[in-house]
């Protein structure tokens, strides 16, 4: 492990610089009931004494069997009685909260906060999100119970518990293998990390108080700087429901369209699907092709840039090479369309309109599926399933919101997609939605698809450093 001594990893909460490898997560959405008891719990959870309370996991530890982390909303900091003049030093988007920024994030229509789960609808009530990662259910439950029992069960009121579970093959509900690409930090990295042809990212992309990837710009650190803001981070916690039935129907309808389209042969030559492993029918192969084109990777994780016409090329793309590509070799999107999800959210070195922002908006994505696995043989089961995601960065407005607002939706980074939204997660209205797959000298346009991901809740969280947690715990009121 290469570690920059300038970053005190013992002060940084876990899951920010390095992701946990756990199978299960439980997010406890909490309201502060007794501020003094809640503060005492924060002191106990950072005391080093596991008998007092389960300890907050830092980045310095070897990943313990159960990991505990804490995030607070603005309302939560207020409930813990942080002084108003200090609260005012937090960034405006964090103060507003995610629900108030809904239109900017594209959370409209079915994703509008008025349709969110009850626990999220009143942002004043959501104070903390305590995340417990574990491999063993009992350990997860026990830790959760101990947190809820803090202060004689008086510290917090549980608004909700959100459970996620990662499958062993890493597949998420739309059938894609997730979590392949994450930023590699320039001073905290593992030499066995997959090569990704991208520059190393300054740690200031996620931690407050360091050099950022944006030239000489430094994000303002909440005050008091050393005690509260430094080494902290921000996370956009989002409950994202996935409309798998509609997604699968869209793949089928698009395949129907392309069965009869001569342009489709440019994207998938005739009989190419016979060489796949396993071979598929033309229609099934076209479905997989569409799934790949809208995301940017085949459902097995192989990037389109490395293999545009087969998920199982010969020679295979090894697990270690899944990130070893860039879009500079595909300027016209013939392999990976400019409007595809991974290309929109992280353009790598592709030519984009905002020329100096290729690498300055990178964020860390942590997430786990929730809900039972989708069975294509039993569609329309009416069961809710989706992703519990946290998008971590040092400046929500400069990174997360910017990606969401003008890359994911609107498509401002490339004039060939401007005016359209991300086909997989974007704010799509069937009357206006459009996705172009460049093919030959023309393109195939897919239209009429709805929004496949509905936001069901979420909040902007401050992820304090360990020192900050102790500081919050010792506020005198």
């Amino acid at each position: 492990m290469i570690v920059d001594p300038a970053v005190d990893l013992a002060d940084v909460q876990g899951n920010i610089l390095r992701g946990y490898k756990k199978r299960l997560v439980r997010h406890l959405v909490l309201k502060v009931n007794d501020a003094a008891a809640a503060r005492r719990w924060l002191v106990e959870a950072t005391s080093g004494d596991a008998a007092l309370a389960p300890q907050v996991t830092t980045t310095a530890n070897e990943e313990p069997p159960t990991c505990l982390n804490v995030g607070m909303t603005y309302a939560g900091l207020d409930a813990l009685r942080v002084a108003p003049d200090q609260l005012a030093t937090f960034p405006q988007e964090f103060i507003d909260g995610m629900a108030a920024r809904a239109v900017k994030l594209g959370d409209t229509g079915p994703s509008d906060p008025c349709h969110w789960k009850p626990e999220w609808r009143d942002p004043e009530q959501v104070h903390l999100v305590v995340s417990i990662h574990a491999d063993v259910r009992d350990r997860r439950d026990e830790t959760a119970d101990r947190v809820l029992g803090a202060g004689g069960s008086r510290a917090f009121v549980e608004l909700a518990r959100l459970d996620g579970e990662r499958r062993s093959d890493g597949v998420v509900h739309f059938g894609y293998k997730d979590n392949i690409a994450q930023p590699h930090f320039d001073n905290i990295r593992n030499p066995t990390d997959r090569p990704d042809m991208q520059p190393l990212v300054e740690v200031g992309a996620v931690l407050l108080g360091y050099k950022t990837p944006v030239e000489d710009v430094r994000w303002e650190v909440p005050e008091p700087r050393e005690d509260l803001g430094f080494n902290g981070s921000f996370g956009a916690f989002r409950v994202l429901e996935q409309q798998v039935d509609e997604f699968e129907r869209f793949l089928s309808a698009s395949a129907d369209l392309m069965m009869n389209s001569p342009l489709a042969y440019q994207s998938l030559p005739p009989k190419a699907e016979d060489g796949w492993d396993p071979p598929l029918s033309r229609h099934e192969a076209l479905r997989e092709l569409v799934a790949a084109k809208i995301l940017g990777r085949w459902r097995n994780g192989v990037p389109l840039v490395l293999s545009p016409t087969s998920p199982t090329p010969d020679p295979r793309v090894g697990t270690n090479d899944l990130n070893n590509f860039d879009f500079t070799t595909d300027p016209d999107g013939l392999s990976c369309p400019m409007g595809s999800h991974i290309r929109r959210c992280n353009p790598r070195s592709a030519r984009i309109v905002q020329r100096n922002t290729n690498h300055s908006r990178r964020i860390v994505r942590r997430g786990m599926p929730y809900g039972p696995l989708y069975d294509p043989n039993h569609p329309d089961d009416g069961v809710e399933r989706g992703l519990l995601g946290v998008f971590i960065c040092a400046s929500l407005v400069a990174q997360f919101e910017s990606i969401q607002y003008d890359w994911m939706n609107l498509g401002l980074q490339d004039p060939r997609i401007t005016g359209t939204n991300d086909p997989v997660v974007g704010n799509n209205d069937p009357k206006f939605s459009s996705f172009k797959m460049p093919a030959g000298s023309s393109s195939i346009e897919l239209r009429g698809f709805p929004r496949f991901v509905h936001t069901k809740g979420g909040a902007y969280l401050f992820l304090p450093s360990i020192r900050a947690l102790r500081y919050l715990g010792s506020i005198h009121h």
Partner: protein, 339 residues
């Protein structure tokens, strides 16, 4: 014959409501837009029109047109100087006796979302005696920084404005439409006003791509309000006759493309000026229709008379207009009534 003349219940209600707003309405004329003048000419689609719609009149080549300009009042007596909405109804002559109508008027936005809304506002706007504002009233307006009430119209001492204003205090969706209607000024010429089709149309191109659009006729001579007050009551007819005898009158067909979030079936919602604009063609009016422009009077123009590639949406007002216009056409013995 009797069945056709009765129409369906709603169109009869609408028709009757409009007639009630104009007690001196003359039978055999339209309930509103009673007084009009027709012109003939041709429409030339632009080079890009065919990229947006496969409808016949946008593919290229001249299309003959008949246009009827009108005042929206249902009064049989013409009063061109009144504060009134002006109409421009265009009939495109397609191959083989088929026609397409495009009806527009100088209101950029309407004040009702549904036929019931329209009946409500028509009831609220039943004319009552309109007195001039007193000096005390004018003083109170000044002290409250309000605009003074406009002077009553000498030709028609009854006005429904007070009732309508009370209606929009409560029914906020109607405000933009009513404010636009109250702010209408007499144009210097029928050929110097901008006309809008308040409904949204669905255009389909040869690739099957659908776009939602609104239309307007923009006068090439530019818009111009009439500032003189001493003109004869039919000055617009006189002016048009004189204008067309000198040179044709031209309008550009401007199309605005709707975006995600825009109201597609609600004519009370304006679309922002930021919307993409396309010039779909130009209309050239070369002369009056028939004797003294009376050639358009018997014709039926219907907002729902459209064609494949250029279609209407499920706008409640449009549906009601279709039926009401048909009913009215039958009532007055017009030509070509059914859509």
């Amino acid at each position: 014959m009797g069945d056709e003349r009765r129409g369906n219940d709603l169109s009869q209600q609408l028709y009757d409501a409009l007639i009630a707003d104009f007690p001196s309405h003359a039978p055999g004329t339209r309930p509103v837009h009673a007084v009009g003048i027709g012109a003939v000419g041709y429409f030339v689609p632009s080079d890009v029109a065919r990229n947006f719609s496969f409808a016949e009149h946008f593919q290229g080549g001249r299309i003959d047109v008949t246009v009827r300009f009108s005042n929206s009042s249902g009064l049989p007596v013409e009063d061109d100087q009144a504060v009134d909405v002006r109409g421009m109804a265009t009939k495109f002559q397609l191959k083989g006796d088929r026609t397409v109508d495009l009806i527009m008027n100088t209101l950029p936005v309407f004040f009702s979302r549904s036929p019931q809304d329209f009946l409500d506002i028509a009831a609220a706007g039943r004319p009552k005696p309109d007195k001039a504002e007193t000096r005390w009233g004018r003083l109170m307006d000044k002290l409250q920084l309000r605009e003074p009430r406009p002077a009553p119209n000498p030709l028609s001492p009854y006005s429904g404005t007070a009732g309508v204003v009370k209606y929009v205090d409560v029914h906020r969706f109607a405000r933009p439409g009513v404010i636009a209607a109250l702010g209408q000024v007499a144009p210097a010429s029928y050929a110097r006003a901008t006309y809008h089709a308040i409904h949204t149309f669905k255009l389909t191109d040869t690739d099957g791509k659908v776009r939602y659009c609104r239309f307007a006729w923009e006068p090439v001579a530019g818009g111009r309000p009439e500032d003189r007050s001493d003109l004869p009551n039919d000055y617009l007819h006189i002016e048009l006759k004189e204008r067309l005898s000198r040179a044709p009158a031209r309008f550009v067909l401007r199309m605005v493309l709707g975006c995600q979030g825009d109201a597609l079936d609600d004519p009370t919602k304006l679309w922002d000026t930021t919307r993409m604009r396309v010039v779909m063609g130009e209309i050239v009016l070369t002369g009056l229709a028939g004797v003294e422009g009376a050639g358009a009077e018997p014709l039926s123009f219907n907002p729902a008379r459209v064609v494949n590639g250029f279609e209407c949406l499920n706008d409640l007002i449009l549906a009601a207009r279709r039926d009401a216009y048909e009913y009215s056409c039958l009532q007055r013995g017009g030509t070509g009534c059914p859509v």
